[in-house]
Symmetry: C2
Subunit: 219 residues, 2 copies
């Protein structure tokens, strides 16, 4: 149908509306969510996208590159949403509130599982692992900023600032997703946030009352 001499803009007709490369990225995300890293082959992804398997290699060179592009897409959209919520974080209670909200969203959408699957799948593949690690760094940075915003005025601040707290937060995020996915039950993870929410007033109260026992070993 396309006249010769008109190179770009593929797939003018039909359903997707955007080009094949984007369709493959979207299909990779869907496939990672539904069938995991092991199930995300060139064939299954291309099938999900409704295109031929060879196009994975035409556009991305390898399956791993496509999966990384999928991770990039999810990370970008999630971090954008996180950043929007960050402005409301001024104390521990609001931090917990934001964390609970984005976690629930990520569980429902399956977006965390894309990250978790890539982390898990990288264990067999060091080269892929390096690339995944690079893409986790922004999540840790975000966690660090969020924690700092939430605990800046708290006496717990010195205990958390500039420390390994972001690392632990991301690890917990990943672990909760994997365990919830395994057991097919996210209630335990969600009730953790409810517990924290009930603890929030107590944490907020610490903002004014310094606790000597917690200080003295952080420069």
């Amino acid at each position: 149908m396309a006249r010769p001499g008109v190179p770009s803009r593929p797939r003018a007709a039909g359903s997707a509306g955007h080009d094949t490369k984007r369709a493959l990225v979207d299909a990779a995300i869907v496939t990672l969510k539904s069938r995991g890293f092991n199930g995300a082959s060139a064939r299954t992804i291309a099938g999900e996208a409704g295109v031929n398997q060879a196009l994975v290699f035409y556009y991305f060179g390898s399956v791993a590159e496509l999966l990384l592009a999928a991770l990039d897409a999810v990370s970008a959209s999630r971090l954008e949403r996180y950043s929007a919520g960050l402005e409301a974080v001024t104390d521990p209670a609001s931090l917990i509130s934001l964390a609970a909200e984005v976690f629930r969203e990520d569980m429902s959408s399956g977006d965390i599982s894309v990250l978790a699957e890539m982390v898990a799948g990288s264990s067999s593949n060091p080269e892929l692992g390096v690339e995944v690690a690079k893409r986790i760094a922004p999540w840790k940075e975000f966690a660090g900023v969020a924690i700092e915003s939430g605990f800046a005025a708290s006496s717990l601040g010195p205990l958390l600032s500039g420390s390994e707290a972001p690392h632990v937060a991301v690890a917990l995020y990943l672990g909760l997703e994997m365990l919830s996915h395994l057991e097919g039950d996210r209630s335990a993870a969600m009730s953790m946030f409810e517990r924290l929410a009930r603890l929030a007033p107590f944490l907020n109260a610490l903002s004014a009352a310094p606790t000597p026992a917690l200080e003295g070993d952080t420069p």
Copy 2:
């Protein structure tokens, strides 16, 4: 060499000292640690054990069954060690001390990664996931007992007892392993325990001083 009519006790000679079935389980553990779930095929495991690939199916029926047997073996040895350390747990400080010690051991030995790989690998395979979930239950039970022992006398007890705390503990354990493995750096995880250890005296002090803000919503 073996006379006919003497059926059992295979592999009398040689290095391993125990039979092939056990050798395959050990090789499966080694392979899960070094090459991950994806790399743990019948061929690679059998190669590690120095036996033929067909024996995986002769003894276990499928690769998945062998991997579950490997997980069972690791779980049994680790839970035995945990239980031994549990007797010394009487307050938050000793609980933190035990947690740090066993976590460091598990990281060094790679035993956690066996669990983490199986959890991660199960995401593509619901049937396997059910079996893995069954084998995680004892870890959660252990975590629950340990937390209860450590916080029984503390005012934080009501906040933790009978709750989702064991689930969160196991999730954090898994997440820290996966992230440390991915980044090739366990220092962040270990320094988290150092932080907690410094916090321990403060937590112990809470054992006598009840905190009204934390009570009232737990039956």
